[in-house]
């Protein structure tokens, strides 16, 4: 592969990156080629030693996506980061997607519990109406307060936990990109 071929392939593989990012990456490899040539190596040798543009591009894309998700937290960015990481290989499919789905499952069920606690008093009233006996009214009042209080605290805790897990999971993605396929 000549320098031209390497750079062209790299450029088109990275076409979904913003120009600035892509050009910066290409500049790094151009510099590498020029320095190698200056040392008397030929372009084929240099390209060979650099490795497959396809694998490099996947890694660069994953790095970029993870960075995006870190600086700009959103479900979409997280999804793109995961897809990019999973594209690095079968290994990542198991070690990235598996834990992620498990975590999401646990989180969703916790949110369900919280929402249930919050909605329980309303459900009681809808189902049985406001009780007429004053003792039952008190019971409903305090029961509702306890249930809503617990639900509210749980929601606040869960929101924090979600944010924390988001960050941790990105670090885990990064770790995967770094460790896997270490040829």
């Amino acid at each position: 592969m000549t320098r031209r071929e390497f750079m062209d392939e790299m450029g088109s593989l990275l076409s979904e990156l913003p120009d600035k990012e892509r050009l910066d990456i290409l500049a790094d490899y151009t510099e590498h080629f020029l320095m190698g040539i200056q040392e008397g190596k030929n372009e084929h040798e240099i390209a060979e030693a650099l490795g497959s543009p396809k694998l490099l591009a996947r890694e660069l894309l994953a790095g970029y996506r993870i960075n995006q998700a870190q600086s700009n937290a959103s479900v979409g960015n997280m999804t793109r980061a995961i897809v990019a990481t999973v594209s690095l290989g079968f290994f990542n499919l198991i070690f990235v997607l598996g834990p992620f789905l498990a975590l999401i499952g646990v989180l969703i069920s916790c949110y369900c519990v919280a929402v249930t606690l919050l909605a329980a008093p309303l459900g009681m009233v809808v189902q049985y109406g406001i009780p007429t006996v004053s003792q039952e009214r008190l019971f409903l009042l305090f029961g509702s307060l306890a249930s809503v209080g617990l639900g509210g605290m749980l929601i606040i805790g869960l929101l924090r936990l979600t944010r924390w897990m988001y960050r941790q999971f990105l670090r885990y993605l990064q770790f995967n990109v770094q460790m896997i396929r270490g040829k």
């Binding site: 990456i25 500049a27 790094d28 490899y29 151009t30 510099e31 590498h32 020029l34 320095m35 190698g36 200056q38 030693a49 650099l50 490795g51 497959s52 543009p53 694998l55 490099l56 890694e59 660069l60 790095g63 960075n67 990064q174 990109v177 770094q178 460790m179 896997i180 396929r181 270490g182 040829k183």
Partner: protein, 107 residues
């Protein structure tokens, strides 16, 4: 080898500990010690820069193209020290296991 890539990170950080280096230089000093896909050093350098462990600057050189230099930040140095410590512990552990497993007892 699977674990080489994790070690790469340690290598580039340590190589920049005493002076700023440019990419090609880093690639060359690592690949003379062990075989790597040389291109993977650049994504790694990008990531470490994004994480704030390096700052970069361009400098003209007498011969050849301008070079992008990598300078270790304070944060980068702390991270490097952590990794070096981790590596030493790992290295000692593995060596002991090899020693015991192959029966090179010191006794």
């Amino acid at each position: 080898m699977q674990f080489k890539k994790g070690v790469l990170e340690l290598c580039v950080l340590v190589l920049t500990a005493k002076r700023d280096r440019y990419g090609y230089e880093l690639v060359a000093s690592i690949s003379e010690k062990f075989h790597i896909a040389e291109g993977t050093v650049y994504p790694l350098l990008r990531r470490l820069t994004q994480d704030g462990y390096f700052t970069t600057y361009l400098m003209e050189s007498q011969e050849g193209p301008p070079r992008k230099y990598y300078r270790l930040t304070k944060q980068g140095r702390e991270y490097m020290n952590d990794l070096v410590l981790e590596w030493r512990i790992f290295d000692r552990g593995v060596n002991q296991i090899i020693g015991e497993g192959l029966g090179y007892d010191e006794t």
